[in-house]
Amino acid sequence: MRFERREDVSLPALFIAPFAAIAVTLVLCAGLIAMAGVNPLTAYAEMLKGAFGSRLSVTETLTRAVPLMLTGLAAAVAFRARLWNIGGEGQFYIGALVAAGLGHDLVSGLPVPLAIAVLMLASMAAGAALLVGPALMRLRFGIDEVVTTLLLNFIVLLFVGLMVEGPLKDPMAFGWPQSVPVASGLRLPDLVPRSRLHVGLILALVVAALVWLLQARTVFGARTRAAGLNPRAAAFAGVPLTATLVRVAALSGGLAALAGAVEVLGPTGYVTTTMSPGFGYAGIVVAMLAALHPMGVVAAAIFVATVFVGADAMSRATGVPSFIADVIMSVSFLTMLTALLFTTYRLRR
């Protein structure tokens, strides 16, 4: 038996891949759920009910999907250019911190839409800087960006802790380590009344469409893809590799930071060191399940949000540890990775 490269990427296979991966994942995880003495079908039904059973749960799932879409896009954009940005978590936090820090009082003089735009751009700039550094370290010194971005996650989280216990500490929070709140006028309006769902959802969808446009239709997108697929050929054809990679890094880091800013301006209003249940890391899973396609990211983010929100409800109802959500996520990541292989290779006897 051997692998043989397919002559062409099979498009039907590419479309089926995520569904096959998720199906296999649910079967595999059924075993783990059964170990908890719970019927897996009951558990999955509870998850669906928890994620979509009521108006409130639907809005909650979508609220959870918003940052996942943005961190998912961040990972997809970077991975497309073979830039392994694993620093989404740190970029998320730095974006949140900048939005809260500036949004408390610094931009209070500006008209609201402008102030929000300034906050988001400032956050994105911070996130971009956080990834451009590792990208340059790779280009200059050949240092694996996976390691640097991962280590930066720890550094940033400690820095956020330092800020919310120090300069940005909210004096009104009864000693809890949380940051000063964003001025209430700057919070993103709700999309559905009496829910946490906010216009950030629209923003995330628009950003996804823009990223798709950028990748599929522009010169920058064409160069990014060429540089990712075959850097030597791209360089020979005059694609400026360094500049392209740095721009990709800025975009990717900016998108992850935007997720943090939107989270602060939307549902939370302030920063804590536990505000992200791993949005940055989950974004990598989202990007992978989407086969790095920006529009696929939207669907994949909703899936992952469903798993997280559903697992919490299911855990309450059945007693299965809610960590099952992380297991489902990681297993679907690995199965999707394998499924993608079969879109470009086939098994031959």
């Binding site: 692998f3 694993i86 010194f141 720890f154 960590f323 297991v327 996520m329 990681s330 690995l334």
Partner: protein
């Protein structure tokens, strides 16, 4: 200045250095073994977490401490096999697959822990490895406390450095492993199977990583809690580069790193007015700096991260 001097001349610091270094030594040896065979194993963080959980749980359920280490190694072996299947057999991206292993290893460890262990206000604990008292040596002044009052796994780690160095440099197996990391085609052309060698190296390396995790729950602490590995795996990956893929230098790197860590922990308590987070950041910043320092002259195994498929060049 005198404070720093006091800290450095205190034997408890040096005892702490060895203690802090032990999981790093296991981890860095494991990562080194994988990378010398040409496979980057970013699953290390998850494998260490799994090792920490599995070893601890075995002891919690009544197994002996050494049996617990064995269970941890076995868990590492299995996760290593999974990583090898994905990267060596299927030839998937070692970066992406390794991340998947890390996500999988940690989440599965947390899930199983919660499933099988009732956690009250305090996490349940076991009786961990105790410092050995070596007749004659442990009672030496300074050295006795600094070096000869460690737990058994620390000595195991130190012994494994020598074993790894010998195997890599002096045995045919080590030569085959190094050659696989340099040019798998050369290995195949000499009638050996680079695929099996890589799978073996990744499994063995992953077992070592898991032992590093198990040290945390079974010697350094006595209970398991989420996020306890705290990036030690990533630091090991950086240390491998720092050590130019050599076991001896890896030991040195781990000790240097641990010295710094132990030093800053003590400095935290003596220096006031500096936010403790700055001290905690230091190890991670140091890792990045170390990478920058050695990156230019790093001699990477030539076939590192190159998938090997027979008949495909």
């Amino acid at each position: 200045m005198t404070e720093a001097f006091d800290i450095l001349t205190n034997a408890s610091l040096w005892a702490a250095v060895l203690r802090i270094a032990t999981p790093l030594i296991f981890g860095v040896l494991g990562a080194l073994l994988c990378e010398r065979a040409g496979v980057l194993n970013l699953g290390i963080e998850g494998i260490m977490t799994m090792g920490a959980m599995a070893g601890w749980l075995a002891v919690y359920w009544g197994a002996g401490l050494w049996a617990g280490l064995l269970v941890a190694a076995l868990a590492g072996l299995l996760l290593g096999l999974l990583h090898a299947l994905l990267t060596v057999i299927l030839g998937l991206s070692q970066h992406v697959s390794g991340l998947g292993i890390t996500l999988f290893g940690s989440s599965l460890a947390y899930y199983l822990y919660r499933l099988w262990v009732q956690v009250g206000d305090l996490p349940p604990s076991i009786r961990p490895f105790q410092p050995l008292s070596i007749p004659g040596l442990s009672s030496l002044p300074f050295l006795g406390e600094a070096v000869f009052s460690q737990t058994a796994p620390t000595y195991l780690a130190l012994a494994l450095v020598a074993v790894a160095a010998w195997v890599l440099n002096r045995t045919p197996l080590g030569l085959a492993l190094r050659m696989t990391g340099e040019n798998p085609h050369a290995v195949e052309a000499q009638g050996l199977n680079p695929v099996m060698i890589r799978i073996g190296a990744v499994m063995a390396g992953s077992a070592l990583m898991a032992l590093g995790g198990a040290f945390l729950t079974m010697a350094a602490f006595n209970s398991f809690f989420p996020t306890m590995v705290q990036g030690r795996g990533w630091i090991c990956i950086a240390l491998v580069v720092f050590a130019s893929w050599r076991p001896g230098k890896a030991l040195l790197g781990a000790l240097l790193f641990a010295l710094f860590d132990a030093f800053q922990l003590r400095l935290q308590t003596t220096v006031s007015g500096v936010p403790y987070q700055l001290f905690l950041m230091a190890p991670y910043v140091l890792s990045i700096l170390a990478l920058i320092l050695v990156a230019r002259r790093a001699r990477v195994p030539e076939a590192l991260m190159q998938p090997y498929r027979r008949g495909e060049r």
